[in-house]
């Protein structure tokens, strides 16, 4: 994993300490080097740093922003960051960052982007409760919202299977973490939604 660190020395030291503990194959590269397949960790101090992002966004990098407060959050969201690290809660947020990087190292994407008509949706896969097939569309149900995307259920399952999702019916994929109760024919989710189990998929739930 290639990492570019562009932040104050004190934060660089903290980040390096954690990364060296949790990851074995880690390479710290310089900003001037060839920027490919790298994770760019950048501290945002002023609007000038955001302007610099316009140039950086041409390289297909994964960004992580170190922020002091939420002032530039919406501007930074344009660059699809993997996560934000709040400097006031750095130790706590780094743990979350490590989890994301571990997923990434295993080739699993936790942040999913969907295009739905004129709308762009960016969602953490762990927030998805269940997915429902509806004609040529799928409905993605999360804790906070429901949205309709034109995609095949099988394609979504391919993306989500390694992240703890299973198919329980020809029309339903569920996140195992959200199961509240299950019977031989139904699965009850945390949101009190009751979903049927297909005959063909019963073995997957055992």
């Amino acid at each position: 994993m290639n990492i570019i660190l562009q932040c104050e020395v004190q934060y660089t030291q903290i980040l390096k300490r954690y990364f060296n503990t949790y990851f074995q194959n880690i390479t710290y590269i310089q900003y001037n080097n060839h920027l490919v397949n790298a994770i760019f960790i950048k501290q945002i101090r002023s609007i000038q740093d955001i302007k610099e992002m316009e140039t950086l966004s041409f390289y297909h990098l994964d960004f992580i922003f170190l922020i002091e407060n939420g002032e530039y959050m919406f501007e930074l969201l344009e660059y699809n960051p993997l996560t934000f690290v709040r400097l006031s809660h750095i130790e706590k947020d780094i743990i979350h960052l490590i989890e994301i990087l571990q997923y990434k190292e295993r080739g699993l994407g936790t942040i999913l982007n969907f295009k739905s008509g004129y709308q762009t949706i960016r969602i953490n896969s762990q927030r998805i409760e269940y997915i429902e097939s509806y004609g040529h569309y799928v409905f993605i149900h999360t804790e906070s919202a429901t949205f309709k995307v034109r995609e095949k259920l099988s394609q979504i399952l391919r993306k989500l299977k390694p992240l703890g999702f299973i198919q329980i019916h020809k029309s339903y994929i569920i996140n195992k973490a959200y199961i509240q109760k299950k019977t031989s024919t139904y699965v009850y989710m945390n949101s009190h939604t009751c979903l049927p189990i297909g005959q063909k998929y019963k073995s997957q739930l055992k």
Binding site: M73, F74, L77, S116, G117, Y118, Q119, T120, I121, R122, I123, N124, R127, Y134, T142, E143, S144, A145, T146, F147, K148
Partner: protein, 208 residues
């Protein structure tokens, strides 16, 4: 009573019937045009000409009907924020039949109001085919769980009706923070011309 603010217009059955009558003129013109072509350049019997022209009429109407189905609405209630849109030929055609059948519309995105943390108002630049520059409102909804939903409400003509201000007030009543760095809110309660002018002035300021 539950408060509801809708931005954008929704097509009704009555509207569809009126639009169909209006579009039938184009359908008839095409059918008559083809009838004359068949009549002048082929030796088909007259009855076949009528049948062909009728098919041409049906085909034209099928191509024109989706235009009626094009719509985009944003609905704010105390429980949720719902975004409905129909995009693309087939979707718009399906939408017309859905309205005619009087079936309930399913939102493309439905956000639970109590899960919305912040709403950011900003804009994007868009260019028309003849290099004319315009601006579109961009609404970004940040949820409590970190999810982000971005919506570009194109029904900007609703500005004149002051719907945006009502919708934002409804969100504020539910303690949702509105982030408005460009002070767009003030122009959202004027008209679309002023909205464009205001952003143009912001863009000029940036260059200075």
């Amino acid at each position: 009573m539950d408060k509801k603010v809708t931005i954008g217009e929704r097509m009704s059955r009555k509207g569809i019937v009126f639009s169909w009558i209006y579009l039938s003129v184009f359908g008839l013109l095409t059918a008559v045009g083809f009838f004359n072509i068949f009549h002048l350049y082929t030796n088909l019997p007259l009855i076949n000409n009528y049948i062909f022209s009728f098919f041409i009429y049906i085909l034209t109407m099928l191509f024109l009907t989706p235009i009626i189905g094009s719509y985009e609405t944003l609905e704010f209630t105390m429980q949720s924020v719902n975004y409905y849109h129909a995009k693309g030929f087939l979707n718009q055609l399906v939408e017309v039949f859905r309205i005619l059948k009087n079936k309930k519309a399913i939102p493309n995105t439905s956000m639970k109001a109590n899960q919305i943390l912040k709403v950011n108002l900003s804009y994007i630049t868009q260019f028309a085919g003849w290099a004319q520059k315009g601006y579109r409102l961009k609404m970004t909804f940040l949820m409590h769980d970190g999810s982000v939903f971005t919506i570009f409400p194109t029904s900007i003509n609703q500005i004149e009706k002051g719907d945006y201000e009502q919708a934002l007030q409804l969100l504020e009543q539910q303690h949702i923070e509105i982030v408005d760095k460009y002070n767009l809110r003030s122009v959202l309660s004027t008209n679309s011309y002023q909205f464009q002018e205001y952003i143009e002035s912001l863009e000029k300021e940036k260059i200075k």
